[in-house]
């Protein structure tokens, strides 16, 4: 009797052990959420809890909580199970924090975080229900079936400083500044897609964007979103060059080893005028070809530049335009840096002086006819909660 009881106890213990072991093995399996669909140059992935990152390759599985890291002039597209894509540019950090997808019920719950760099998000199945959220260090983007782009860090601050809708007077945290741009689909979209909408929330305030090329900028922690405003062609092109460094280099830009983050304007002096051919309208007031818009800001990607705003660390003007580069020994490129001990701006996240754009002499372009500084339209005060700027009246006529 005793032997029988002991045997039964041992077998029961073994059964429980098998159960727990199986569960542990299952729990230890990384949850696959997608693959590396395309990789350019130096891209690494660090699995959750792993001490070191490993080199990423095409078709490699991406698991939940893997941190994707891209190097200079590198790029990656992560393709998730529901066909949602994250395309990240150089020097970026991306993590898929949550991904629950049921293809049978067309339901998805996605949360991701981008702590650095530029990225483009394209929603997968348009009929998928559920919540989708992308976070930067200081902003949260709620997504409803859409294409949008973001830049986090110094590049965001530099691009925003050149935007009439933001201006150079806004103090930004070079580590966390976040620029968000909706790319579509617009209301006039074709196909099986719905118009895109994003809600950008920061410091307790939410700005909704529902038209392509509208942007929102969050300068630092504790500051409300600025915008929406229409991203300028020059600003948009800078964002594209960050997300697609390979295309930028092949099409218009040269590598820039000095900054390691992207590009410098190519010498386009040999290129013919951009709008010199029939059927292609001269740039309109908002700078986009054939469109109206920003008064006094026409000329995309015309001559000149960010007048008086030197120090764009990734090359000032990826479009190249017709301007010429010159060094600015006065180092004018520090309009956006966080100053120490200035209230909520920065909040200790990025020690002053570490901004990559402000260390050396700034750059500025010269040679164009529009060299005088543009009016600081919609310049925001560095107070914690600036009033969102009104959207300039769009003059997009729809299809060109």
């Amino acid at each position: 009797m005793t032997n029988r009881t002991g045997a039964r106890a041992r077998f029961l213990t073994l059964a429980v052990a098998v159960s727990l072991a199986g569960t542990a093995i299952a729990a230890g399996q990384p949850q696959i959420v997608g693959i590396n669909a395309a990789v350019l140059n130096n891209v690494r992935i660090r699995s959750a809890g792993a001490p070191q990152a490993h080199i990423a390759v095409v078709r490699q599985r991406v698991a939940l909580n893997d941190e994707v890291q891209t190097g200079g002039r590198s790029q990656l597209q992560v393709l998730l199970l529901d066909k949602t894509t994250f395309t990240v540019g150089a020097n970026a950090r991306l993590t898929i924090d949550r991904f629950v997808y049921d293809p049978n019920r067309s339901a998805r719950s996605l949360a991701a975080s981008v702590t650095k760099g530029a990225f483009r998000f394209i929603s997968g199945r348009p009929d998928t229900a559920g919540t989708t959220n992308v976070r930067t260090p200081i902003a949260s983007i709620g997504i409803r079936g859409t294409i949008f782009e973001g830049v986090v860090g110094q590049d965001a601050a530099n691009i925003a400083a050149g935007e009439p809708g933001v201006g150079p007077r806004v103090r930004s945290d070079p580590a966390t500044a976040s620029l968000i741009i909706l790319r579509g689909p617009g209301r006039g979209t074709q196909g099986r897609v719905r118009p895109g909408v994003i809600d950008v929330t920061a410091a307790g305030r939410t700005v909704t964007i529902d038209q392509p090329l509208r942007a929102v900028y969050v300068p630092a922690a504790g500051m409300a979103p600025i915008g929406p405003f229409i991203i300028s062609p020059r600003g948009l092109q800078q964002v594209q060059a960050l997300i697609f460094p390979g295309v930028a280099q092949a099409m218009a830009f040269l590598p820039n080893d000095r900054t390691g983050t992207g590009f410098v304007p190519a010498d386009n002096s040999a290129r013919p005028p951009r709008y010199g051919y029939p059927g292609y309208p001269e740039p309109g007031g908002d700078g986009y070809p054939g469109r109206g818009g920003y008064p006094g800001q026409g000329g995309f990607p015309g001559p000149g530049t960010f007048p008086g705003r030197g120090g764009f660390p990734v090359g000032d003007l990826p479009s190249g335009g017709d301007g010429q580069m010159s060094q600015d020994p006065a180092g004018q490129g520090k309009p956006n840096q966080v100053q120490p001990n200035q209230g909520p701006v920065g909040q200790g996240q990025a020690p002053a002086g570490q901004a990559p754009g402000g260390q050396g002499p700034g750059k500025k372009l010269k040679g164009g006819p529009n060299l005088k500084s543009p009016p600081a339209l919609q310049a925001q005060s560095p107070t914690p909660a600036p009033t969102p700027t009104p959207t300039p009246t769009p003059k997009y006529p729809g299809k060109p």
Partner: protein, 130 residues
């Protein structure tokens, strides 16, 4: 009593199976994505897939496909032009025209310009006089 031992074992294995996450039960949920990735390794296969997606109305899928191709072939002007035409169809004409401007002056097949014109309206072909 010994007849109950297999029952305990079955219960244990069953509970382990029930507690396992989907990844444990499904070998490779991402296998279907490999084909999409593979198609982007060449400009011909990538644009063929993108055109198929355009025809089926999957414009965002087409845009993602072409972006994959551009990562692998950043100097493919015809792919960038097709991407621009997709942006036009997505009502992002401003972004599309930036890309059209980038390929200006490059040798682009007539079909790509025709697609761009169909999607974006008359844009003129550089060097062709209209």
């Amino acid at each position: 009593m010994a007849t109950r031992y297999p029952l305990y074992l079955c219960l244990a294995l069953g509970s382990a199976w029930l507690m396992a996450p989907p990844a444990f039960a499904q070998a490779d949920p991402a296998a279907a994505l490999d084909q999409l990735s593979d198609a982007a390794t060449g400009t011909g296969s990538g644009t063929a897939l993108a055109r198929q997606q355009i025809r089926s109305g999957d414009l965002t899928g087409a845009a993602a496909t072409l972006e994959r191709v551009l990562i692998n072939h950043p100097d493919a002007g015809d792919v960038l032009l097709l991407h621009a035409s997709v942006l036009c169809r997505l009502d992002d004409a401003g972004g599309a025209r930036l890309e059209i401007d980038e390929v200006r002056g490059r040798a682009i097949p007539g079909q790509a310009w025709a697609e761009a014109t169909a999607a974006c309206g008359p844009i003129g072909r550089p060097g062709r006089g209209g």
